[in-house]
Symmetry: D3
Subunit: 189 residues, 6 copies
C-alpha cells in the first residue's frame, strides 16, 4: 500500500534506478507489512534541483554505488581463482580480514600461506548474499557451505560458513569469516 | 540529494514512521552516495487511498511490523536468562535453530541439553545488530564475542560469534549460529 | 500502473473522497489499460492552498456534489410512488422531460395525465445506472425493462427502456425517455 | 481547486495523455464542484517504476486504449455506408446487437435483412456521444435523431434515438438501440 | 501555470502558511510570467520528516519569522510616537541607522537630538512597504512622503523619502534613510 | 527543512529554472527560518498539463521573464555611457523617471539637460541590487554611492543614493531616484 516517490537529479543509469526502487521497496516492507503487489516505488527525475545553495542538473549527481552483493561476488570469485590483482581492485585502503580463531590479515597474499596450514583445498558454495544498508557502509553477509580436502587427504563438504563484508564507497574494507571447519575437524578427529 | 516521499494511510504510530523514514534513507544511500545531510525522507499521510478496488482510510493499514533488531535482542535476552516463555512468544511456527556442526533443534528446551555437553556457561557480548530487509523476510545478523566457562572449568572470552535470524511477520522462524568455540577449544587443547 | 494523487482542501467527507478516488480510477482506466489492482489513487489534504490570489484552508472548499446515480435513483423511486414533493426537490429550474414520440413536459404533474392515455400501470426494473462525467453536467443513463398493464388490461413485461438524466449542480435539469412500448404494442396488436 | 497528478511510465503518446488529463478533470468535477479554471491535472512521467516486483521503464506501459467515442463514430460511419469490413474491425468476439423490440443479432450482415422489413432508408443525425468510464468497460451513448423513408415511400425525420455501445479493450462487444420509430409509425398510421 | 507544493513539518500557524504560499507565488511569478489565477501553491504537512539524521514531527519546526513588513511598520509607528521601549524590542544587537548625509546612529535616543537641528516636526506618509527576500536577511523598503515643519516654522509636505530596513531573524539590524528634505530646503531657500 | 516542488511545462531554459528554484528558496526562507542547507527546491517538468480546459505540453509555457536585476544593471550601464538606444530597449511604454526634488521626466534625452544644471559628471558605485517580487511587477532597488564633479569643478564621492525601478513584463516602467547630493552640497556650501 505504500507509494514511494524518489526525486533524483537525472543521469543515474537504469540499473542503478532499478536497484534503488527495489531497495526502497524492501526497506518500506521492513516496517509496513505490505505485499510486493501493494508496494509502488518510482523515480522522478527533476530538471533542476537546489539544496544548500547549489543548483544541480542532469549528470551533477554523484555516480551510483555499485551493487554491494555483486562486488562481493566478484571479489570472492577472483580470490577463489587466486586472481589477486582483480580481487585487490575491490579493496579499500586499510583492508582487514579476520578469520576463524581471530586471525587478522591485511593482504590477500597472506591468505594462501595461512590456508596451507589448514587444508589442501577449499571451495565455497553460496546459498545467500544478504545486504544490510547502513548509510556510509553496506554490509554483505554471504553464507553457504564449504567443500574441500583436509591436509591428510580426506574430503569434506557441507561445512557451514558465513562471511561478513563491510563496504564503503563500493570498496571492501573488512572481511570476517566464520565457519564450522574446526567443529567438523574436531568432532571427526 | 535524494528526496523521498512515502505515502501512507494514516494511523501508523510515530515510532514506526520514524523507523520507516530511517530505513528508506539507508536504502537510498545504498545506491546513491548521498550524505545523511543530503537525504530527505518524509511521510505523507493521505486521507483516502484506493488500490485494487479497495478504499482505505485512517487505521485501515496493516499494523506496522516490530523492529526486527529489537525482537532479536528481546529474544536473546530472554534465552540468556532462560525465560523460555518470553522467548517463545517471538518464535514463528516451524521455528528451527542450526548450531555449529549443523546441529538442528526446534525448541528452546533442547538448547540447555545440547549446551551441557559443550560448556558450563556462556554469555554473548553484542557488537552489532545488522538488518537485511528482504520483503517477506527480514534477516538480523547479530555478532560479537562469547564469554564463558568450559566443562573443565577453564574460562574463555573474546570468542567470535555471529547469529543469523530470519524473521517473517515480526516472528523468528530460523536462527543460525556460527562461532569460534571449536576453533578455540581445538587450538587450546 | 498509474498512480494518481489528488490534492484537496480538507473538509470533504469520507464518502465524497471515496467517490472521488473511485471515479478518478475509472477515468484513468478509460485511457490507460491498467487493471484495478494496478491503479492507485489517493487524496492528499493540504493544510493551506492558494490559487488566484485566494487562500483556502479547511472547509473552504465548495460542498461535494451528491452522487448523480443516487440522485436519479431517489428521483425515480419518488416518481414511482407518486411522491412528487420528494421528486421535485431533485429538479433544477427549467426542468424538462422528453418522452417517446418527443412529448415534452415540464412538471411531474403532467406525467400521470399523459400516462393515463397509454397504460394503466408501469414499473421499472433497473439493470444499470451509468454515469457520464462531463464537467458542469453529469449525465446518468438508467436502463432496464418495463413491466405493466395496458389500457385493455393485458400485462406486459420485459419491455426495454433507457432514460437519460442531465444533472447540473446535483439537480436534474432534463430527463429523456426511450422505450420499446410502442414497438411491443404495435407488434402485438 | 483540485490539483491532480498522474504518474505514468513514459511512452504514452501526447493525444493519449491529453485524453487522460481531460478525463481525470471531468471525473474530479463529478464530485468536487470546481470550475474548469480551478481544475489542474498533469502527467508526471517517471523514469523508473516498480510495482509487484516488476521494474518498468520507458515504453513498458500497455498501449493506450483508443478513444471510445471515436471508435463508435468510426463504426457507425462504416455501418452507414455499408462498409462492413471496416466496421467489423471494431467488433469484439461475441459481439451482440439488440434492436427495438429486443431483436438480437450477432453479425452486421443480419442488419440490412432486418431493416428491409422496416424502412427503405435511415440515417442518423448525431447530437451527442457520451462516455461512461467503468473500468474494464467503457460505455458510449450516442443519441440524436433519425431521418429516412418508410417502406411505403413516405419520409420521416427528427425521430429520437439512442444507442448504447459497450467497449472492452477498445472493441465494441455490445450495441443496444432504442428509438421512437414504432411510436412515430404507430401514431402516424 | 506553475503548481508549487511546499512540504512542511506540521505546526506552522495559518497566518504563517498563508504568507508562505503567497510569497512563493510571488517568487515564482518573478520568473514564470503566469497570472495569479494560473499560479497554484499549497502546503503539505508531513507526518514524519527526516533529514540529516534527525526525525522531525509536529511542532519540531523552528517558529515562523514574523512578517518583515509588519515589523517595520510597528517599529516606525513606535518611533513616530516616541515610544522607544516598543521600538527597541524590534531591534537586533548592533543596530545601526544611517541618515541623510551619511549620519550614523546606534540608538533611537540619538534621533530626537539630531532631528532637533533640522526640523520641528516630521511625519511619514507611507505609500509602499516592499520586501526583498534574501535568505538570512529580509530587506524592507518603505517609501512615501514627509510632512512637517521647518525650524523656522514654515510647513513642508510631499517630500519624497525611502527607508531601507535590514532584518535578520525578525529583528531590524540596519535602517537607512534617504529623502529630498535637503533638496527641498536648498531649492526653497 | 521545507521541500519545495515546482511543476512546470517543459521548455524553460536552465538559467530560468535556476533562478526559479533560487527565488523560491529565498521566498520560503522569508517565512520559515530554515538554513540554506535545509531548504530543498526542485523543478518537475510534466509531460502534459491541463488547466482551464487547455492542454499544454513542451514549449507551451510563456517565455521566462528576464532577471530584473540584470535588466536594471544593463539599463544603468547603457545610461551611464549615454547609449540611449540600448537603454530605451529596456523601457516600457509610459516610462517615467522621478528625480530628487520630485522632478519628473519621460525620456532619457531629458536627463543630460537636467543634469547639466547640477553637476559636470556623475558615476554610480553599486553596492546592492535588491529585488522585491510582487507578481505583475518586480521592483529592483539599487543602492550605493555617487562620485562626480560639481559645476564649480570640485569633486565629490561617497554620496549615498538609492534607485527604485519598477519592472513589468521584463521592462522598466518607472525609475525613482533618491540621493544625498543636495544634502552634501548644502552642508558643504
Amino acid at each position: 500500500m505504500p507509494v514511494i516517490s524518489i526525486t533524483l537529479v537525472p543521469g543515474y543509469p537504469p540499473q542503478a534506478q532499478a536497484r534503488l526502487v527495489s531497495n526502497l521497496a524492501l526497506a518500506a516492507r521492513s516496517v509496513v507489512p505490505a505485499s510486493d503487489a501493494g508496494t509502488t516505488v518510482f523515480v522522478h527525475e527533476v530538471s533542476t534541483y537546489r539544496r544548500d545553495g547549489r543548483i544541480l542538473t542532469e549528470g551533477d549527481g554523484a555516480p551510483a554505488l555499485p551493487d554491494a552483493g555483486a562486488v562481493v561476488r566478484d571479489f570472492l570469485d577472483a580470490v577463489e581463482r587466486r586472481d589477486f590483482d582483480t580481487a585487490n581492485q575491490w579493496l579499500a585502503p586499510g583492508f582487514e580480514m579476520v578469520f576463524p580463531g581471530g586471525v587478522v590479515m591485511h593482504t590477500l597474499a597472506e591468505l594462501p600461506v595461512w590456508a596451507a596450514g589448514r587444508y589442501q583445498a577449499v571451495r565455497k558454495h553460496y546459498e545467500r548474499f544478504e545486504q544490510s544498508w547502513q548509510g556510509e557502509v553496506t554490509v554483505v553477509f554471504c553464507s553457504g557451505t564449504l567443500q574441500g580436502r583436509w591436509l591428510d587427504g580426506r574430503d569434506f563438504e557441507g561445512v557451514r560458513f558465513v562471511d561478513r563484508f563491510e563496504l564503503s564507497g563500493g570498496r571492501i574494507r573488512r572481511q570476517e569469516v566464520w565457519n564450522d571447519l574446526a567443529e567438523v575437524k574436531f568432532s571427526s578427529d
